[in-house]
Subunit: 1002 residues, 2 copies
């Protein structure tokens, strides 16, 4: 066996490989960059219309990935090999896979996968869609179709291939620790880089002086601006990169707060945008000198496939039809969605074109969307139709000769005037043409319809890739369209449909011609491809269950994960791997999170529900060399767990309480102070609202302690690394520190719900802290004028408001929002005006209104209730629900007008009159007064919409009698006012419940 | 013909070449660096004992080389390919030359030369000795043996090879503009880099914000210090590099003054030193893990040469002896010096070892130091000698038996006691041994003597290179030591002498065995090597003259340059090139400076003395492909002139006067202000001293204008680029601006002398401004405590003082230094104490003393005169010269004692008495008084040493008579005082001329 390549030879081999393809070989950038993307050879050159193919090594610096050289896979510096192909050569995945082969990776022995991974650089205003490439579960490459850079749409789109060289070397050499990678004959990677990892980690995590770095950032930013003012693209870009690196160090030091982060990203993005625009303008002025650079060698020609051309004149009456849309790996959700769409659009289309068929089947894998129509007619039925022409009286002149109108109509239908008949239509007489439509063959009908069918598939996120300009989830690379043995060609995305499909990667030549449509299934089977998603899911489930049984584990299978995995493979083979038992000491949330979220592994639980040191992954391919695949995956998960263990270990030196001082250096927002200051405010607010929320004394104690510690985990390494675990880690560490269970729970729960509709806190302390936290953010940020505007909500205030409301509503807890806002306002470090408080209140009730409307409540009901009870969301909901019932009742048509009359006559008076019962003159008035007093007493006992409505219903005849017989506006001022006073008391019955004037029919 | 390599293939080829040799392939550094040396893979890895072989590309940033993309050869970024070989593999030059062949450079077609170039990085505390490698006059590589880094001696020494990739690509591709270099098939170098050159040049020269960059510098420096405190080597190094780059930008913006530059360098150097020391300590603690890394493949084995071993027992009685010390290219001056040393040490050595010979000849080229001895005896003469032993009376005991003393003596001489004799020596009787010394053969005598002979050669600067630890001008790579056909082997520098010489590079295999000593000359001739320096010089002169004649030029040949060129080649062939006539518009000093200093070309003058558009260079080798060599050289000189023209053009937008405000941003010294402030002081001082220096009114006007403009040229691009042209460019631009000739001249001349012994100003305005400038520097810098200490003189104050003195002495101009110092002191922006002024004065007179002593004047004479006339150097010199004559005269032995008696009796009196002529008692006293009065009058007329000595001579008899007959110390106080008063008047005759008490014999 040939010795595997050493690290430097890997770099040189890739250089040579891509140079031979025609790429320009470039050098690493001379400022610290987080990725090769930031090198101007990528960031700038992907802009504008000129071709550009380049390849280079980029030592990439990510301070927060530093692990002091302890972690096998994570380091503050890693080597990328970056390739840009602009425009898309049509076969970038194949070119990439050939480069792996050039490195000595035999695809037959491994599981190579393209796993959805979209990429975004908030600092550079850049994003793209693509994948991580996995080699046996390990990410070895990032593969992206760039859509935007510097906020500019990229035309053409660039393909970016970013190899992770260490990962590749590890896999090649079988050394699963960076230290052991052979760099050359004599020297190992660790020999040269271990000390650097240790020292830079120390510098980034512990040493770097925050104040000085902030100053550097400012200076770099100003120089970037200065350079831009002078139109100097490259100097500006260099300083933006320096900003970015400095930001990364600050971030690693834990010195960047949430709002500060947003602000800094915004500033960098703006600079990047201006840089990009200046660059494009510069190239334009130079008249795009590279516009005619030839394509790279090895690029595919989309029209190279010979289309089989059986004569379409000899089509059978009916036959099976196959449409296959061959794609690069679709994201699981997109595959699902596309199949659902085809399931409905295809029958509709066939009906529309009058092509009958026996049955149809929609199939799909990540690389193909397939429609198989059984016994499709080869030709439409003939059809005769009647077409209305000009009125008969204008069709012939006095001499009975046809007029121009008649002649023109006949000509347009391709018949003679003789063939027109007269017919009465809608009471008038018209010329009518009988037109016989001969059914057309599928070869004529389908091409445009099929093109449309494909083009109409919609995705959540879609991308462009080539000059055709079409958008799809991922690039479409081939199209099969076969009616029996005849190709029904159509064009889409620069491709022409043919009879050539493709098999499983590596197993087959690129283009596999099919003799006819029904050869398709045998062809798939020969590659172990299961295109039927249901069948594939069952296969996987069976395989997984079998493996679970083999270790005597709980055999239930996570359906959500199963669905996802099902959409990641064409030819599934489940396999089991193990990991070191010691990792089971880590929090289960962490282990499961890593397995499911990062790796799409099925975790394995014992029948008692405990996690076991196994995982199950599903490879794409058969069971050959499954040991190599399992081994690779095991190394990956070990490293990931080691990473988590490293953080936990690092964090164990301090209790949560001891970590609090570090919150001082984490800015929440410049004017609102640090996260420490924020957590102190949260504590204050918690104290006040806990009583309103009716917490017990014990609960209050827990809530206060939880509030005190609520933000401490933000400075733990574990949360810095996996932000989504904030709260969860806080809970874990709190328990480790010996905090009471209830405190730990509240720390975790104060983040609930994690997203709209997510779980609400189960405990009142968790609820209280969560409300306090959100009120603080809302009030503080509104006060410093950072309220959301338009679609912009950088600080997640909408989510905060919705979360707060959801908890109150779900738990049906009364809470006075206005008081809460006042409480939060009192202790902000900045002045909070009445206007600000009002704006916060309006903002929250605005969200509440939306939530209620989305629940399907009537607009007028919601508005009526919120006008009176917006400050107490839970009560408002209860009232809305009740009122909604009332307005549906039959009697409501009586009740509302009666009450409305009382309100309308009094609402603009501008003053409130007292009733003088003794001077009430008429009996009707006296009766009304007695009635209203009775209602008032009832409502005092139970202030609800039901009581109100019951009472008004009872009072309605009295009201109606009153208005029928009494003239309210008596000439005697006293008499009039006394009557008005009674009516005002009626109106006041709805106070605090709803403002019924918002209701329809009021 | 195969297509020449494109740029990226050159990089990849070098990577492959050096990887195959065993070098680790490394990547460019991620902060801007001026050179690959700064990459930690060089700067740190060359420290300590561990082997390290590495190669990498380094895009190197030198802001002040920016030319907006206009210059064919100069750019703010160039690509280096850096190789470090540690330890020296023994044949690094050969490995390097093979790499050029790998790139397709056919050495037979080119002139490849190793031209002395020593390297120093003041920021990194690093230096080494080596060469520029020239390809047809173009520097393509820097080749250095590192001696120190971070102030630490390097053991082992590393070989650093730094390829200039653009230069190599230009030569290979025949594209003599960077824009035209083919980078790959489709893209040219200029396509990707032209805009970068333009933008970065603009940024560095015009845009960068000086204040912000200063702040960055401070922040970087503080972070470096912080990292060092924590023992973090790599982070510290990174920030030092950032300091360095920031410094370079500031420098390019013209914002760094002379003293500030020194200070910043000092700070960076100190940081680099600490970093280096920390790194070494770190490696030591790790126990130098790489210590056993194997040598690179292709390293030479110094003992691989088979030594010819004729039996030394059969040597002829006499024969020719050849010693050849084969070296890597010696610097011209070192070659010269080594040959001179051998010319005297070799005969002395042969005499010492009693080996007669007929004649000897010392020969040399840059690659060989040769000694050829004609008819050397093969064996020493025999010799008998007598050795004194112990006294006879202690040699035998009472019984006549020999004592231990006698036995021991005999034993030590290798004879028996019987063989000892007694002999009377210096009046005592001793035992004596007769020792017969048999003459030894050369094979026994010479090895150690030859080793010593080589080891004793001394050089101005020498270097170490391998484990032998010896130091030489450049590495010694082979030794030939042949007596007739017999090798006389000896060891030096890890080599063993053999019979294997080497011929001209590329013409011969590495090792050319010689059959016997006198085959040497035929061997050299076969390679066209002229080892006889005189013959070689004549050959070159004849060739040059012939070429000069061919264009009808002045045929005189610059002897200094001829001597230098003679020492640069072994096989000279002169050739002529041309350059574009338009460049003749540049100042002649610039053109000639570039040709002579940079390129060692002979400039060509017409018979009228005007420069002609030709140059003559002397290649090493024969005249094959001389057209290619000439063409290459022409391209080089064109580019250099284009560079100068670029600067002149840039500078032409402003007059000198208009440039003055820019001096504000050029710091002279922080406490002393900007260069603008300095030049204003120079103007003030000039005004005052011009009168003292006796300038005419016109001259004063010119001096003031010149002072006003004196420093303006420091901010011109031309001077920023070629500092040595300061003043010269000032003159040129002044004339261009229409300033008067005398002003222009003074601007240039105020820098004279440029070095000790150089030309002094020809004009008084030039003299005056120069004195003013130097006084300002001396006084100001002493006042801020920056006087030179020990060997440290960062601000060149010694040179300033010496220059000032030299001008006054050469022009013999009286000038009151003390007054001048006061004038300068008055206007300094800092307080200048009396002590400071005194220190400046002492410092200057200290230099004057040295100068006079070095001129060979007597120590006592110099001291005597300076004690009285130090403040006026020119007068002091005149007096010294006169006094030196007098002390040599015969009569001086009479004069001095007489005068001395008068002085000695009076010098400690502490008060001065008045003579009361009327109360003088004795005639002797009266005569003496009359004599002294006469002398006084004579001296008043001509206050010179001659007059003084004449007068004293005349007075001597009178003095002597006085002392013979008069008792000065009379008991009568008045009588005594009156006599002392007369003697005091005698003593006073030398006042202001000399303090004769310093003279010997006083």
């Amino acid at each position: 066996m040939q010795k595997s390549l050493d690290f430097q030879t890997i770099m040189m081999t890739l250089q040579r490989y891509w140079a031979e393809k025609g790429c320009l070989i470039w050098q690493p950038y001379y400022s610290q960059v987080g990725a090769g993307t930031m090198n101007p050879a990528t960031f700038l050159r992907v802009l504008g219309p000129e071709p550009w193919n380049v390849a280079y090594v980029e030592p990439s610096i990510r301070p927060d990935d530093g692990r002091y050289g302890d972690n096998p896979y994570r380091f503050q510096q890693h080597y990328q090999f970056q390739v840009i192909l602009k425009p898309d050569p049509g076969n970038p995945q194949e070119l990439y896979l050939q480069s792996l082969q050039a490195l000595g990776i035999d695809p037959a022995q491994h599981d190579i996968r393209f796993v959805e991974d979209n990429w975004e650089s908030p600092a550079l205003g850049a994003w793209g869609l693509g994948w991580e490439v996995w080699l046996d579960g390990q990410e070895i490459t990032q593969f992206t179709y760039f859509q935007q850079a510097g906020g500019i749409n990229l035309e053409p789109v660039s393909v970016e291939i970013t190899y992770g060289l260490e990962r590749i070397a590890m896999a090649l050499q079988g050394n699963y620790h960076f230290k052991k990678i052979r760099w050359n004959e004599n020297i190992k990677y660790g020999d040269i880089h271990y000390m650097g990892e240790k020292e830079h980690s120390t510098y980034y995590f512990e040493t770097a002086d925050i104040e000085r770095l902030r100053k550097m950032y400012e200076l770099f930013e100003k120089e970037a601006e200065l350079a831009l003012e002078k139109g100097l693209v490259l100097p500006a870009h260099d300083y933006i990169l320096k900003c970015s690196h400095t930001f990364n160090i600050l971030d690693t030091r834990g010195a960047v707060g949430v709002t500060e982060r947003q602000a800094l990203f915004g500033r960098m993005r703006e600079l990047a945008r201006r840089t990009a625009e200046t660059y494009v303008a510069q190239r334009e002025q130079m008249e795009f000198p590279w516009i005619d650079t030839p394509a790279i060698s090895g690029a595919s020609s989309p029209h190279a496939i010979t289309v089989q051309t059986s004569s379409t004149s000899s089509l059978p009456d009916k036959a099976d039809f196959l449409l296959e849309i061959g794609t690069e790996e679709l994201p699981a959700a997109d595959l699902q969605s596309a199949l659902e769409q085809l399931q409905s659009t295809l029958p509709a289309m066939l009906d529309d074109v009058r092509l009958p068929y026996q049955s149809l089947q929609v199939l799909g894998t990540p690389r193909r969307l397939t429609v198989y129509v059984k016994d499709l007619a080869s030709r439409q039925d003939d059809q005769t139709s009647q077409i209305k022409g000009p009125p008969a009286d204008r069709a012939f002149d006095q001499d009975g000769n046809p007029t121009q109108a008649a002649l023109g109509f006949a000509r347009s239908k391709g018949i003679s005037v003789d063939q027109l008949t007269k017919q009465e239509i809608d009471g008038g007489e018209y010329l009518v043409a009988q037109v016989h439509l001969e059914g057309k063959p599928v070869s004529e009908i389908l091409p445009e319809k099929l093109r449309q069918l494909v083009a109409d598939i919609r995705f959540n996120k879609s991308m462009r890739w080539n000059a055709s300009g079409v958008a799809f989830s991922r690039p479409v690379r081939w199209l099969v369209s076969l009616f029996a043995d005849t190709v029904i060609p159509f064009e889409y995305a620069g491709l022409t449909a043919s009879n050539a499909s493709r098999g499983l990667r590596f197993k087959d030549a690129d283009h596999h011609p099919l003799d006819n449509a029904n050869a398709y299934f045998d062809f798939l089977a020969s590659h172990n491809i299961i295109a039927d998603t249901g069948k594939r899911r069952d296969t996987i489930r069976t395989q997984v269950e079998k493996l679970l049984t083999s270790v005597n584990a709980d055999t239930s299978v996570d359906t959500g994960l199963l669905d996802e995995v099902n959409n990641l493979v064409e030819a599934p083979t489940a396999l089991m791997g193990t990991f070191d038992k010691k990792h089971l000491d880590l929090p289960t949330e962490v282990l499961v999170g890593v397995m499911k979220k990062h790796q799409r592994y099925f975790p394995v639980y014992s029948r008692d529900g405990d996690l076991m040191p196994y995982f199950i992954t599903v490879r794409n391919g058969n069971d050959a060399h499954v040991d190599i695949v399992a081994h690779g995956n095991e190394e990956v998960i070990q490293a990931r767990f080691a990473d988590a263990a490293f953080f936990m270990r690092e964090d164990s030196s301090k209790t949560l309480e001891e970590m609090l001082p570090k919150l001082d250096s984490l800015t929440f927002q410049p004017d609102l102070g640090s996260m420490r200051a924020k957590s102190e405010r949260v504590l204050e607010i918690t104290k006040e609202i806990s009583i309103d929320l009716d917490l017990s004394l014990n609960e209050i104690k827990s809530a206060e302690r939880a509030a005190f510690l609520s933000k401490a985990d933000l400075v733990t390494n574990m949360v810095v690394e996996m932000t989504s675990l904030q709260g969860t880690i806080g809970k874990f560490y709190a328990l480790r520190d010996g905090e009471p269970e209830q405190v730990a729970q509240a720390i975790e729960e104060h983040y609930l719900p994690r997203q709209a509709g997510g779980k609400s806190p189960a405990s009142k302390p968790g609820l209280a802290v969560g409300i306090a936290d959100r009120l603080d953010s809302l009030v503080g940020l509104f006060a410093v004028n950072m309220a959301p505007t338009g679609t912009k909500d950088p600080f997640g205030l909408r989510r905060a408001a919705i979360g707060l409301l959801q908890n109150l509503l779900q738990l049906s807890i009364d809470f006075d929002l206005q008081k809460g806002i006042q409480t939060a306002a009192k202790i902000q470090p900045v002045p909070v005006t009445e206007n600000h408080q009002h704006a916060v209140f309006e903002f929250i009730t605005g969200r509440l209104q939306n939530m209620l409307l989305e629940e399907g409540y009537r607009y007028d009901v919601v508005n009526a209730v919120l006008a009176a009870q917006g400050a107490n969301p839970a009560a408002a909901l209860r009232t809305v629900q009740a009122l909604e019932q009332w307005v549906k009742k039959e009697g409501w048509n009586e009740i509302l007008p009666a009450f409305s009359r009382c309100v309308r006559i009094t609402r603009d008076l501008g003053q409130t009159f007292s009733v003088e019962p003794d001077t009430l003159l008429l009996q009707e008035t006296k009766d009304l007064y007695a009635g209203v007093e009775k209602a008032r007493v009832a409502l005092e006992k139970d202030r609800s919409i039901d009581t109100f409505a019951d009472q008004i219903m009872a009072l309605t005849p009295t009201i109606n009698t009153f208005f029928d017989n009494v003239l309210v506006m008596d000439k005697d001022e006293n008499v009039k006012n006394n009557r008005l006073a009674v009516l005002q008391r009626v109106s006041a019955l709805s106070d605090g419940l709803a403002d019924l004037s918002h209701l329809e029919g009021f």
